[in-house]
């Protein structure tokens, strides 16, 4: 039975189907998840499996002088133990980086276990296989490793100076410099900066963040007893990419490798990768002929799974006397961490195209990013991946510009918005924004937050000696998502395409199977995809089964990340449904002896225009297709079509967030009193899921602004490797979120949809930080580094007060 949530339903449901799209249907996935019935990788029972444990370097940077595993091998239950050197000749290729962003990009060889040198705390140096996880972990303590510690490299600018080179063979800590200069005439950007009425020059630090998916990683590699086939069960968001990359790295014939994701408990980009432990399990399972499993501990997850953000941004924003932007220069230092993971170097590039925000920007744009190695955990995609960073920079700089000009930050933004009637809009980058209505989104947010009212309260409340100061934050954003047109990815040197595959099949009993190449790990694809198909066929979504995340069942796919699943994968399903219906129409027309063009299909029944007595339900058509007793000449049996969709453009969700914070100037504590998010992601398949994505995304962005930081000491030790120190906010710590409605369909796909997975995160961090600075700017505080922890806020207030006193003396 299909349950519809009793909340109000969007009246702008997507036209042309059977009225299902736009309904707040409860998620099909949730009963299994909530009752514990869902099987995650580590829940799998695997008789005879050996447990892998990895010994990790306690040093950020150290030469490995020797590794002696004999102590471990003597322990009861320990079957094997290997050093990095023991396995060094087993790899067909180093671990993959699929995004060589420049031709001269430097990429140090990176193997599942380090051989000569450990380059971050957590770098694997040896491993054990034992009959239980407990024995395997105990045995790690019996492995004797001699290290020669070397200086840690933590600071990005220090790293660039190459005083300590991490990867000797590269000769430098700089991986690449990637420029993007867009000018009508050479020097336009510099000229704008030199000649404009206003220029703000700012430096922002995007702190390192730990994605901290609720389920850490887990792996089971299960070899078949004969023939060489092997199945990898793993907590990943990219089974298809992982299959290709594992085959290449390990030299496994690809047809012998199957990758399956059981239930996956979140990823946020951190499971968009090819990890050492997956390769170790695969290799050891194949070479030993035994199932091998590995389960990541939380503290291990904080060190051995990728981190995100970690950039220093220098931005110069120039504007004329009216505040119209005249030029923009951005210099990025991006922390790669110790090695390049799957798409590490490309992450800042995904943001490069968004530094112009939602504004009309002239071709006076000068961007450059340098990727820098450090002795910390490698970075890679983390929810938003480059785009939150870019949005933060432009939106925080817009507030700085508004303060410089002494005008209202909302007014400044409005002066620069790309107008509604300019869409589709070719931006300064040459990319075409599909649709947008920034004035509307801003107006909805302005009204919901009562902008004028709060500004009035603020004027009264924020006296110089007030203990509680109000601040209002605004952010607007465009997101470049739905990754992506394959040709555009090619132009960025990305090693794969951005298409998605769907197969839709109507079974003989008229139940429907949707096979998708997307790999959900919390998003609710089983619900949303069944709604898309059910809407097309006019059936109950309960009659649609969505098959995914197993390369034997769904061999074609590009997986789930970059807010791509609906605007690419969902669209592919919709198109495959149309093709199946077209075929069914031929069969129905043949059966009813009618002209195909006279057939209507609604509510799961074909009818003939003008012949009210003739009708044929889908079930009857499906059975005819199955028996194939009487099909039109030349038509193949069965109702099944496969579509691979390569989107013609990115999709461009957009929105406005506003929030109100109150800061206790005595303690430095920030309380978010109100949060309004207006996220326009085009048509919504299931508004309930959209709301959930926005809620989660906003909290994750707010967490960057106020709570989370992967803090390292000067020796390169991660100080926040447990959830006691890495402050993921809980429900009791965050505000209620008010969602405002704005729906501007995308014209580039038949569903009119955009993506929504990353939007909330992109809008939230700058919104909250703008509010924090807005609350304190009256005291002379210019900026505060994220996270704006109470101690940082308090320090900033003290410093500003001291400066004010000095100035007065």
């Amino acid at each position: 039975m299909t349950v519809i949530d009793n909340m109000e339903t969007s009246d702008e449901s997507i036209a042309a189907g059977n009225g299902l799209l736009g309904q707040r249907m409860l998620r099909k996935e949730d009963p299994a998840l909530l009752t514990g019935e869902a099987v995650f990788t580590n829940d799998m029972k695997v008789p005879g499996a050996l447990h892998l444990a990895v010994l990790r370097s306690p040093y950020a940077h150290a030469k490995i002088s020797s590794v002696n595993v004999s102590g471990a091998l003597e322990m009861e239950g320990v079957m094997h133990a290997f050093s990095g050197a023991d396995l060094a000749d087993q790899w067909a290729a180093p671990m993959p980086c699929a995004w060589p962003v420049t031709e001269d990009m430097k990429n140090p060889p990176h193997y599942p276990l380090a051989v000569d040198k450990a380059a971050y705390v957590g770098d694997g140096v040896a491993c054990v296989l034992a009959t239980s996880e407990a024995v395997a972990r105990d045995a790690l303590e019996a492995i004797d490793v001699e290290y020669e510690p070397l200086p840690a490299v933590i600071d990005l600018e220090d790293s660039l100076a190459d005083a300590v080179v991490i990867h000797n063979e590269l000769g430098t800590n700089s991986s690449y410099t990637w420029p993007l200069v867009i000018e009508e005439n050479e020097g336009d950007c510099q000229s704008a900066i030199d000649n404009s009425a206003y220029v703000v020059k700012e430096r922002y630090v995007q702190q390192r963040l730990i994605p901290m998916a609720m389920e850490p990683r887990a792996v089971v590699a299960m070899p078949q007893p004969f023939g060489g086939d092997i199945t990898l069960f793993t907590a990943t968001q990219v089974p298809h990419v992982l299959k290709v990359m594992s085959a290449l790295t390990l030299g496994i014939p690809e047809q012998q490798l199957r990758v399956v994701c059981p239930a996956v408990g979140g990823g946020f980009g951190s499971k968009l990768d090819v990890y050492a432990e997956e390769l170790l399990c695969l290799h050891l399972a194949r070479s030993l002929g035994k199932p091998i499993r590995w389960n990541e501990e939380r503290g291990e997850n904080a060190q051995a799974t990728i981190h995100g953000r970690a950039q220093i941004q220098d931005i110069e924003l120039a504007a004329d006397e009216n505040g119209k932007i005249t030029g923009l220069r951005v210099r990025l230092l991006a922390d790669m961490g110790a090695y390049l993971q799957l798409i590490t170097p490309g992450i800042p590039l995904l943001g490069a195209f968004l530094y112009g925000g939602v504004y009309e920007i002239p071709k006076a744009f000068d961007f450059s990013c340098t990727g820098v190695f450090t002795t910390m955990t490698p970075t890679d995609a983390y929810r938003g991946a480059g785009r939150p960073e870019a949005t933060y920079a432009i939106e925080h700089a817009m507030d700085a510009l508004a303060r410089e000009m002494d005008i209202d930050p909302l007014e400044l933004r409005r002066r620069n918005f790309i107008p509604r009637d300019a869409f589709p809009y070719e931006a300064y980058t040459g990319l075409v924004y599909d649709s947008g209505d920034h004035d509307k989104a801003a107006k909805v947010a302005e009204d919901l937050v009562d902008y004028a009212g709060v500004r009035a309260r603020q004027a009264t409340q924020n006296t110089p000696d007030a203990t509680k100061r109000l601040g209002i934050g605004i952010s607007t954003y465009f997101e470049m998502c739905g990754l992506a047109p394959s040709r555009v990815l090619a132009s960025l040197n990305y090693a794969a395409g951005g298409w998605e595959s769907a197969t839709v099949r109507v079974l003989p009993t008229s139940k429907i199977q949707v096979v998708t190449g997307t790999a959900p790990h919390g998003q609710g694809h089983e619900t949303a995809w069944s709604m898309i198909a059910a809407d097309k066929f006019g059936v109950d979504p309960a009659d649609v089964d969505v098959l995914h995340s197993d390369t034997a069942i769904a061999p074609l796919g590009m997986d789930t990340y970059g807010s791509r699943s609906l605007p690419v994968g969902g669209v592919a399903i919709s198109m495959a449904c149309d093709q199946v219906i077209d075929k069914a129409r031929k069969i129905a027309a043949h059966q009813m002896e009618a002209n195909e063009d006279d057939l209507e299909f609604a509510g799961g029944v074909f009818t003939v225009t003008g012949s009210p007595d003739k009708e044929m339900p889908l079930a009857a058509v499906a059975f005819e297709a199955f028996t194939a007793h009487d099909l039109p000449d030349g038509l193949e049996p069965n109702l099944e079509m496969q579509v691979t969709y390569d989107p013609p453009n990115f999709s461009w969700p957009f929105g406005t967030h506003m929030c109100v914070v109150e800061i206790d100037t005595e303690t430095g504590e920030t309380e978010v009193l109100q949060y309004v998010a207006v996220d326009d992601c085009g048509n919504k398949v299931n508004p309930l899921i959209v709301d959930g994505q926005v809620h989660g995304g906003v909290i994750q962005g707010l967490a960057q602004a106020l709570y989370e930081e992967a803090a390292y000491d000067s020796d390169g030790n991660l100080q926040s490797s447990s959830l006691a120190e890495y402050l993921v906010p809980a429900a009791s710590d965050v505000p209620s979120i008010t969602l405002g409605e704005s729906i501007t369909p995308s014209p580039t796909n038949p569903l009119g949809v955009k993506g929504v997975g990353e939007a909330g995160t992109i809008g939230a961090a700058p919104c909250v930080m703008n509010a924090v600075v807005d609350a304190l700017s009256g005291l002379g505080v210019r900026d505060i580094q994220m996270p704006a922890s109470p101690v940082r806020v308090w320090n900033a207030i003290q410093e500003a007060r001291n400066n004010t006193q000095e100035n007065q003396q």
Partner: protein
Amino acid sequence: MIPAAFDYVRAESAEEAISLIGQHGDESKFLAGGHSLVPLMKLRLAQPTVLIDIGRLTDLSYIRDDGDMIAIGAMTRHMDVENSDVLRQHAPLLAHAASHVGDPQVRHRGTIGGSICHSDSASDLPATTLALGATYVAQGPNGTREIAAGDFYQGFLTTVLAPDELLTEIRVPKMDGAGWSFQKFNRRAQDWAIVGVAAWRRNGDSGVGLVNMGSVPILASGVSSALSSGASIEDAAAQAAEGCDPTSDLNASVEYREHLARVLTRRALEEASAG
């Protein structure tokens, strides 16, 4: 998150628990609610060889009116302290402080005795019972003794309890009519306090306990004596960080902790004096 190997025995009575720990020696530990010890074991920061489970000593779970005092069994769970009518009536500061410990899951498992014996200065109940002038009752092989809270805490995670002594009861003076306040400053509701203040005032008397302002929970006696000498709340609270020795960490510098102690003490005294 897998502890080092250890043995486990279950005690059926306080006497048996004390005998067992005598038997197993220094590397054995009592296991009460397990919400401080077990996380340390999972991180392998604690590696006791034997755990003596006192979780079934239900006769140590009670809250009783005992004349001028309230007697609380050491195995009483935080949520029972939080919801006790007796405590709400006679020592509401303690009931309220218990409601700030960890999260509901912790409060349903963790015990007041376990928290006090673990003696983490960042925990809420050691400083609160100290502020209230509580007495702790310990039972050893040679009988029981009473220890004033002010004499109990020796240093970082250490107390005056002998290895074979078991804390059995916490005795808190009745505070009927006292004004009180509990100020817990943290970044997330479930966290330990960055700084916390437990304070009460009645007639000319007061007590102020400081959470996480040194290696042990601290009684801010300077604040109380300033108040009894007629100092204003503001001036008395300015003494709050005297004699403290806080550490710096990701959440706070020493200077910031000292500042917070003064601000939160002032706020606590204002609230305790308000009615």
